[in-house]
Amino acid sequence: MINLVINGLPVAVEEGSTILEAAKYLGFPIPTLCHLEGLSNYGACRLCVVEIGEGPKARLVSSCTYQVEEGLKVRTASARVVKARKMVLELLLASCPQSKVIQDLASAHDVRQQRFRQEHEDCILCGLCIRMCEEQMMAKAIGFRNRGENRSIGTPFDMKSEECRLCGGCMYVCPACQLRCTYMEPEKAICGGCANLSPPCLEKSSFEDMMCYMDPCVACEIRKD
């Protein structure tokens, strides 16, 4: 077991656990977007940053990827962490304003302004869908392409992948995508189109008929470019 201190509280967790897991064990909330139990840790969204170390050596690390170390001192909500987290949310809000998840997170963290030029993107490149496809669905149908501002997610050469079984796992785990089918929880849907259709999407019997696979969506007519 590894002993560490989180927000002043000592805790012992198994070797190889992450700070996020240890904090969860103690009940300290850390917001995440690119983390999902059952998938490997990636560290893309930077929302889960926490402060470790002391004095001039104190620094921020992503708690979902940083493994616990003996004697580690962690602060999950120090001023530095809160400032960074708010900026991350402001950046997210500036890029993906339509995402309900991001809107809610921003609101919960008291982000009251968005000072950047407004963009309308629908993907935050958190990579959850890629890990879902590879690790749970054993398909590896999609992946990251390019780097920097040209980075995107898709199938090789944007062609229909023979590995893809249209399982919908990628959509299911997406934390930000506005095209996500939210038939399970219509109150979380942004456009609500699925619920308002007649007959509503959520009552359709066959999985194939789910309109979220349709492009553009017949209900909200959001077109994927």
Binding site: G43, R46, L60, E69, L91, R147, G148, E149
Partner: protein, 588 residues
Amino acid sequence: MVIPAGTCGQASGANDLIAAAEKEILLCGLDKNIRVRVTGCHGFCEMEPSVLIEPDNTFYPQVKPDDIPRLIKAVLDGKILEDLLLVSEEGKKYYHQNDLPFYQTQVRSILAAHEKIDPLSIANYIENDGYSAIAEVLENGAPEAILAEVKNSNLRGRGGAGFPTGKKWEMLANQSNGSGKYLICNADEGDPGAYMDRSVLEGNPHSIIEGMLLGAYATGATAGVIYVRKEYPLAIKHLELALTQAAEYGLLGDDILGKGFSFNLSLAKGAGAFVCGEETALIRSIEGKMGEPRQRPPFPITKGLYRKPTAINNVETWANIPIIIRQGAKKFTGVGTRNNSGTKIFSLVGKIKNTGLVEVPMGITLKEIIYGIGGGPSAKAKIKAVQTGGPSGGCIPTARFDLAIDYDSLVDAGSIMGSGGMIVMDEHTCMVDVAKYFMAFLKDESCGKCFTCRKGTQRMYELLEDISQGKGTLKHLELLKELAEVVKDTTMCGLGQTASNPVLSTLRYFRDEYLAHIEKQQCPAGVCKALITYSINENCTGCGMCVSVCSEEAISGLRKQRYKIDSDKCIKCGTCKGVCKFEAIEVS
């Protein structure tokens, strides 16, 4: 007759010189009297294509192929062609290479070998004491002694972070040797304006191989990889040949020199992503995966290439190893300062008279490099700042040129050592534009994994662009600083953590320039196009030069009279200013 023909030399015409010299020697039947040695870059790139005549090291700068026949005749007669020598501004002629101010304060423990060695010939390297260190070490058979020597030398990694090499090796040596350990040579040099590593790979590839052999023997590593970027074709060619030759000579592979020590070395070519210089991204790239950093710890020293213990060192670090072993740690620590021993190669470029590679002892001041070795500004304008450490570095203003250069002092000044790029900027360089340039580079070269690095660099670029177009407000400045600090704090790898440096250091030292853009809508350096206008003053003689080059037909007037620029048509390309001999074109 030595002709440097690294990539820089070839670009300035060294190949024509070589062809001319070889042809002349053959035609005159002098192949018994004069030998041409084609080498890597010697450092003084500004004066290339140059010729060095041994044994007294007569230096001829910027030689033309037409001069070769009489040069060869002069060499035969033991004479010196006075008219081809380098002449100082005061009219002083420099005869020997060592007389040049460019070379005088340098301590060239690595670069000096480039003059003596034909990189295509292993025999040439061996003649110059090459592979003597590994041969002696294998004879005596004491790996601990090498480790101790490297530790005592206080050598710090030349890739930028300055981690003590001896300590790194000791950690690797202490790892269990269950299923092999790796050594990697990081030759993914990607900073704009920096080319130290390329020059060493091109000029002396065997020194890297010998360094890695010594490292392998000291740490128990079984295999090594040199990761070099595909943009360095000449370096790859020389390395590939060197690897083949070393294997033929029994210096690589199994049972090296018959002493039972084995080490395999291979070459991996990178596709040129800047982020692959980061060690975990580099490892993933060698493994055939996407070049993307991962969380450290675990550090590569415990889980590296193919999850085996791995030590990664920069080209220049490896090049230092045979020198340390040959001359001993004591002599090595005699150069430089206490915590920063040895020499460091910088690539001195920008608005400076003598551009090139300079190798100086650690602890030398910026002033000595820029005004002494570099010879001061190349134009009339005064030097304003120097940018060190590439895109991850920062700008240091002239007021701080007394700074003694080492890893720690540069960090204090808001920059980093980096791999050794040094870009000199004068009053015609706009600092907002510089920050914008580096941010444009970084937003393309960020791997894109960390949201704050990917989006943060894009947003910083956006804010800088607004400021450079005169659309900035004080709120832009506040937001820029806030964002830069968060990007520095919240990213995973070295690229992201230092990506804000160009912005933060220019904000720290050149805030007045930012304010001029915002409050007065002026670009003091006359660079930001949206904020400048071109006009013609009374110096104009009406020669018409500017009219003939203007692609937009924005200049009009009568011959022999003062011309006028139509600001509606002018696209501010600056071509007219470049051709005007009377300084009649003004930027305001």
